[in-house]
């Protein structure tokens, strides 16, 4: 029996920044496979390279060395527009700072990626409300982000990440700005969606509450994986 094709593969990913004249290696020869419906937590302290890894895997940045393969397809040579289309259709993002568009309501924020894909406004809004209902925010669909709590905003962000039913969601410190109760709600939600929909989650965090929920975890330190651990 052959192992399923990884939905996401990183091969010898390297990323170096320059701070002044000094080169600083954020990632060094990082390899990673993420299977469909996996729930992988990449843990590590601040500055370990977690966000850099998410950025490279999410096609937000380009590596200095190595390559990213999404659903069996190397993405290094793709232009900006093609990468944007891949992010829109195949990858959902959940950011530490929620990153909702302030002039759009919760429902409109969730409908945005669907509209980008060409879905009509009415249908996009209908699906958006369904997703918001799934994350427990049906009653807050027409509220703008500045009137939502941190936990509510992050739930909207999760609904937005799932808008085009991507096979992969990348989350960067999704609980960092949330209190314990809101963080638990978010983690429950991500775990449920992973289980229900088969959506693969890759979560970068240093929050032990998230690490505790991981099905698989990798520890990143100084731009390198220390070793892979598997949850019981």
């Amino acid at each position: 029996m052959t192992a399923p094709t990884p939905i996401l593969r990183a091969e010898r990913l390297t990323r170096t920044y320059r701070i002044g004249d000094a080169p600083v290696a954020a990632l060094r020869d990082v390899n990673l496979d993420l299977a469909p419906a996996d729930f992988l937590v990449v843990q590590g302290p601040s500055g370990s390279g977690k966000t850099t890894l998410i950025n490279l895997l999410g096609l937000l940045d380009r590596p200095d060395g190595g390559r990213v393969i999404l659903e069996g397809r190397p993405v290094g040579d793709l232009g900006e527009e093609a990468r944007a289309d891949l992010r829109r259709d195949r990858i959902g993002f959940v950011f530490q700072t929620f990153s909702l568009v302030p002039v759009l309501t919760a429902a409109e924020n969730v409908a945005w990626p669907m509209a980008l894909k060409g879905l009509g406004e009415a249908e996009a809004m209908r699906r958006s409300r369904t997703l918001l209902e799934r994350v427990g925010l049906a009653a807050r669909a027409d509220v703008r982000p500045d009137l939502l709590s941190g936990g509510e905003r992050q739930r909207v962000a999760i609904a937005r990440a799932l808008a085009n039913e991507p096979p992969l969601v990348l989350a960067d410190e999704p609980t960092a700005h949330l209190d314990s109760e809101a963080a638990e709600t978010i983690l429950d939600l991500m775990a449920d969606l992973n289980r229900e929909r088969g959506t693969a989650f890759l979560v970068a965090t240093h929050d032990p509450r998230v690490v505790a929920r991981a099905r698989r975890r990798l520890a990143l330190r100084d731009g390198r994986f220390e070793g892979e651990g598997r949850a019981a």
């Binding site: 940045d61 289309d85 990153s99 759009l104 409908a111 937005r160």
Partner: protein, 407 residues
Amino acid sequence: MTLWKFAARNIARNRRRTLLTLGVVVFGFAAIALAGGFMAQSLDGLGESTIRSGMGHLQIAPPGGFDDGGWETGRGLEGEARIAALLRQDPAVKEILPRLEFVGLLSDGRRSVPFLGVGVDPVPEASQMDAPKAIASGRWLADRDERAVVLGAGLARSLGARAGDGVTLLATGEDGTLNAVDAAVAGIVHMPLKELDDRYLAATLGLADDLLGAGGRVSRLAVVLGEARGAAAACRRIEARLRDAGVVVEARPWEALAPFYRQVRTLYLGIFGFMGIVLVVVVLLATANTMMMAAAERTREIGTLRAIGTRPSLIRGMFLREGILLAVAGSALGALLALLVRLVLNHSGLELPPPPGGTRGMPLHVQAYAVAYAAGAVAMLVTLTLAAWIPARRASRIPIVEALTHV
């Protein structure tokens, strides 16, 4: 959520800044519309004044008749009556005014001064031209054969002549000798241009014919149309009609015969064109600055939009739509402001000083000149699109990671 609605919400998010930007566009548009309206009114006024100063909307002359300064021995328009009859067949023609133009000396027996004379048929002249309406003293000429003249105020002043005085006109006659005729000064008239006022003499056709020995011929026919617009087309049409009838003449529209008008128009276009460019640059700098500030504040949000799959071209489109919306809203409000200011100015009773070379001021009047409004709208649209292009280009090119971490 359409991109237009999204752009409108982004514009509305910082109301104070949007109002400032909109204010710049509104005043820029209104300035262009009002300046254009004033220019159009001034040029129309000058054109109408030129036409009504005796030129008519177009003129008919014998071949080569537009190349000389007036009457020349042995020259003249043959068959005036037939030409006039042919001209009257054109529905645009309202009146035909015969002209016998000449130069000569005007004397009171002690002094002589040069004049530019024109022999006219006083009755139709009075109904169509401004000179008979601008009599300062005395009266206009009574009939075609009256032995009287009307003098420009400047000419009368240089000779010390008054209405009722007797004067002598000297000019070269048909046989090449100097002829002289006596005439009474029927009236003094204020001509609109100083140069003309200093030399203007209107005589009856009968008196001019006696002086020149023209044998009933005239030098030109001035044709008055129902309206000034379309004079050039009417001129071409009339010339063709006369040619088809076997009449060999030249016809020219009033603009071709009015170098002063053309010079003023060129001057106005230069001045207002320069003003327009300055305005557009000011609007461009002011709006580009505020739009760049707005875009810089939204850098992180732009990073988010791009991260979730918004194409760079769509990001550019979003900003350009904001510029276009501001241009459209600003132009609409600017048009309202321009119409309001125009209403106030046109009812203010203000009078402008005489134009260069003029003798009379004119009331301040601003037209609702559609071309200026259209030009203003296009200028604002292009300017705001340019102003939006700079932040749009930046937003679509900034690295996503950099945008997401922007503070």
